[in-house]
Symmetry: C2
Subunit: 97 residues, 2 copies
């Protein structure tokens, strides 16, 4: 492995794994008040397309990294959407969402 490949691999592990603590925090606290809905709509769509790109060009590292990230980002997005829907139904609970 070249130095560039090692740096790229560490970068991929860091950016992919970073969404795990955020997903755990949101699942544990059920608090998504400060989370941007627009960010997770755009980001989940983006990593899904990165996964499609990986499948079309048959690059395993891209398929695996984005496959993991899609699951984590979609979890955070689902919790945010559930919170927004719940706040819409119960306006008194809408604080921070």
């Amino acid at each position: 492995m070249t130095t560039e490949e090692v740096i790229g691999a560490i970068a991929a592990v860091l950016t992919t794994s970073s969404f795990l603590p955020q997903a755990i925090k949101v699942l544990r606290t059920r608090d998504t008040g400060a989370i941007s809905l627009t960010m997770y709509v755009l980001f989940t769509a983006g990593v899904t397309l990165w996964g499609v790109y990986g499948l079309m060009t048959w690059q395993w590292s891209i398929i695996i990294a984005n496959g993991i990230t899609v699951v984590l980002a979609a979890t955070i997005l689902t919790m945010k959407v559930a919170s927004v829907v719940s706040a819409g139904r119960n306006p008194r609970r809408a604080t921070g969402n």
Copy 2:
């Protein structure tokens, strides 16, 4: 441009731009309660390394996309750290951080 290249370009625009609404939300509301500190430490380190990888392999698209993302992620990280430090100094204001 091939279909794969078009999908990759759309994916890059989506994942890079997604951090803009989150940075704006955090700057506007000053609320970082639901934001994971660990996520933004790992993610900012990761995209910084992606930028280094882009510089070492001289790939403009990687340098530009990760350069923009580093600025946005570092903004969110800075606001979160400021909030945690502030909460540490004023424990009564610590709710949600």
